[in-house]
């Protein structure tokens, strides 16, 4: 069973969304619906599955419905049609109290513009989710301090958010989401408002934390490099429709349509593709000159061994961790894999 399942979700914004549903279900596109009825299609028949412990990145340009989608998971927005299933429970069937309980224990969220409470100190902000859970103050402060330390903000716990820089504020947001110890973390363009250096820093911190905590993360971004770096799976949204779901390599090697192609056009492929993706198996590689070989690990990115290969004009032998030969990459293939689009 998947951790999160979204089945045929539609979201239409406007005065009378239900009246437009038949039209949208018949496949009318976003522009026509807007022109004829004045309603905006937010999500158009989106279905996807997110597995436990993975980072699922949802990508798209602004207006593609990605922020709308993530808000469906904890019902900050209700869908017009469709079902959302988390751990086997239909979120749509929850009543008010169940929903509040669900939000307190199952999911936490990080926001694009941080969403910190300006009238609360850092430690009070981090402890907010715990306060909602009804934890006693002593325990609350203890857990909050642990999380503040985990994101590297020791010494700032009694400051107010407006006394911190953007990057530090988002660390508070991250610590607040971690504090509730929920299985699922929703991150809505969490790093988009930060400058590039701090962003990459935060990405690394998230990867480090994730390798320990193994939470299910749903991450929204419009930055392809970010999604390739963080995502186990990536879903690409365009005008409310999910156009492709796949691993980062899938997306780069086999873009589903022109929209995705345009997205991946400028990406640095050497940074994303691993040796094992482009290698030829041992029995297929008879034509490769084996006199001049350089050994590379199957999990290495092309970027890491590319300079060596180019300088020595040699071929690669791909090995796994214990040194067994898995396959070969010829110099020529290496070059084509970088230019193919």
């Amino acid at each position: 069973m998947s951790k999160i399942e979204i089945n045929n979700v539609y979201k239409i914004f406007g005065n009378n969304p239900l009246s437009v549903m038949p039209m949208v279900k018949n496949g009318a596109n976003k522009e026509d619906v807007l022109e004829q009825t004045g309603h905006t299609v937010g999500l158009d028949n989106v279905s996807l599955k997110i597995e436990e412990g993975e980072t699922f990145v949802c990508m798209g340009l602004s207006g593609s419905g990605k922020s709308t989608l993530i808000r469906h998971l904890n019902r900050l927005i209700d869908p017009t049609d469709g079902e959302i299933i988390v751990e086997g429970n239909n979120v749509m069937s929850f009543d008010k109290e169940q929903l509040i309980d669900f939000r307190r224990h199952k999911m936490s969220m990080v926001f694009q513009r941080f969403g910190l409470f300006p009238h609360k100190t850092v430690i009070q902000n981090v402890g907010y989710g715990l306060e909602m859970q009804g934890k006693p103050l002593e325990e609350l402060n203890k857990i909050a301090m642990e999380k503040i330390e985990a994101v590297g903000l020791n010494g700032f716990e009694n400051q107010f958010p407006n006394q911190l820089s953007g990057g530090m504020q988002q660390r508070v947001g991250l610590a607040r989401a971690l504090a509730t110890d929920s299985d699922i973390m929703l991150m809505d363009e969490a790093f988009s408002a930060l400058d590039p250096l701090i962003r990459s820093d935060m990405q690394k911190q998230l990867l480090d934390l994730q390798s320990e905590l193994k939470k299910t993360i749903v991450f929204i971004t419009h930055d392809l490099d970010e999604s390739l770096r963080l995502g186990d799976h990536i879903g690409i949204l365009n005008a409310g429709k999910l156009v492709q779901v796949g691993t980062p390599v899938d997306i780069i090697m086999n873009p589903a349509d022109d929209y995705v192609k345009a997205f991946v056009k400028d990406v640095n492929r050497a940074k994303v593709i691993k040796a094992k993706i482009i290698m030829k198996n041992v029995n297929e590689a008879n034509d490769i000159d084996k006199s001049n070989l350089i050994k590379v690990n199957e999990d290495q990115f092309i970027e890491e061994f590319l300079p060596q290969i180019v300088c020595s004009n040699s071929n690669c032998e791909v090995v796994d961790k214990s040194g067994n030969v898995k396959g070969y990459i010829s110099n020529k293939e290496l070059q084509t894999s970088l230019t193919k689009s």
Binding site: G129, M132, N162
Partner: protein, 343 residues
């Protein structure tokens, strides 16, 4: 049911039309100047030209007079009860302030200003001097200023007790807002004498109608600013509260109210200033206080006395403004989301 929902707007408009026709018919049938026979109107169309026809007259005046009379005769005890409660509260505040030695009152004001302004010495000293000068202008002003202040305090108390919950209700539901907004518009635009004089008939001369008038005049800005303040809280902050499972109550008291507080304090400040303006007008229905001195000065053509009393009112305004205003400011410094002012 579905059809009813769809045609809600049409049904509403038809309803309005029915009410309009009913008004026309009743006003026509109650009019004393109507023609003997309705047929005359259809034969002779001269009533369409020139002056407004005399029979086309809504008898609102009669209705209100009758309603007011029954209100006064049948429910007089309610007004008397309100009168007694307010008078009791007023006396409590007034007697306390008048019996206290004047230097102690000044000291109290100074201490209040000091803590409200976030320990700003400049503001505190200024407020202290303003308070001193009220009595210094004319010895009798001290007691008059206290009378005025007492009326205002009770008026503002009523405003806060009624206005803030109303503002919260407005912020929570668009429907409530649509109902209350026109009422606030009415309260702000209707000339104050229109409710001052009926106030005398219901409550008698003196302080109580002044308190009621103060309330009507001063409560709208507080309601509006409370509503605005709550709705202006950053949507992402509200989403954050929701996402972590805050209940409606927790969200209101833990997030919305604290963040709306600078705006609410601004509302109380506005409320105070408008209440002070009303107190002067209320002197014309026999309310005692500083306004009474202005009126007296003008009646005796004693420009100096009127000016002195006017200045005393300004001083009182400054004192009250500084105290309420600066409290809002200290709050704002911390809660403003985008300014980067360290302490």
């Amino acid at each position: 049911m579905e059809a009813l929902k769809k045609n809600k707007k049409i049904i509403f408009n038809i309803g309005l039309l029915v009410v309009f026709v009913w008004l026309l018919v009743t006003s026509y049938s109650q009019s004393k100047r109507k023609p003997d026979n309705i047929g005359e109107l259809l034969n002779d169309f001269s009533w369409l030209g020139g002056k407004w026809p005399k029979w086309l007259d809504l008898p609102l005046m009669n209705w209100i007079n009758v309603g007011f009379k029954t209100l006064n005769e049948k429910y007089g005890y309610i007004f008397e009860a309100i009168n007694n409660v307010l008078l009791y509260m007023l006396m409590l505040v007034k007697n306390f302030l008048i019996q206290a030695p004047w230097p102690l009152v000044i000291l109290g004001v100074v201490v209040l200003a000091y803590f409200a302004s976030g320990r700003k010495v400049g503001t505190t000293v200024f407020v202290g001097f303003c308070t001193f000068f009220i009595g210094f202008l004319h010895p009798i002003f001290w007691q008059k200023a206290i009378e005025t202040t007492a009326i205002m305090l009770i008026g503002i108390f009523l405003c806060v007790v009624a206005g803030i919950p109303l503002g919260i209700a407005m912020a929570r539901s668009a429907r409530t807002r649509n109902i209350i907004l026109p009422v606030l518009d009415l309260m702000q635009t209707i000339p104050s004498f229109c409710y001052l004089i009926p106030g005398i008939m219901l409550f008698g001369l003196g302080a109580v109608p002044a308190i009621i008038a103060t309330f009507i005049y001063a409560v709208p800005p507080l309601v509006r600013l409370t509503d605005l303040g709550i709705r202006l809280v950053d949507t992402e902050v509200i989403e954050a509260a929701d996402a972590f499972g805050a209940s409606k109550k927790q969200k209101l008291w833990g997030v919305q109210m604290p963040l709306a507080l600078p705006n609410i304090m601004q509302g109380i400040n506005q409320c105070t200033m408008m209440a002070l303006a009303m107190v002067v007008i209320a002197s014309m229905i026999g309310t005692r206080g500083l306004g009474d001195e202005v009126l007296l000065g003008l009646q005796q053509l004693n420009v100096g006395r009127a000016a002195e009393a006017g200045i005393a009112i300004v001083l009182l305004a400054i004192v009250l403004d500084r105290i309420t205003q600066s409290y809002g400011e200290t709050l704002q410094e911390r809660t403003a989301p985008n300014t980067k002012k360290g302490k």
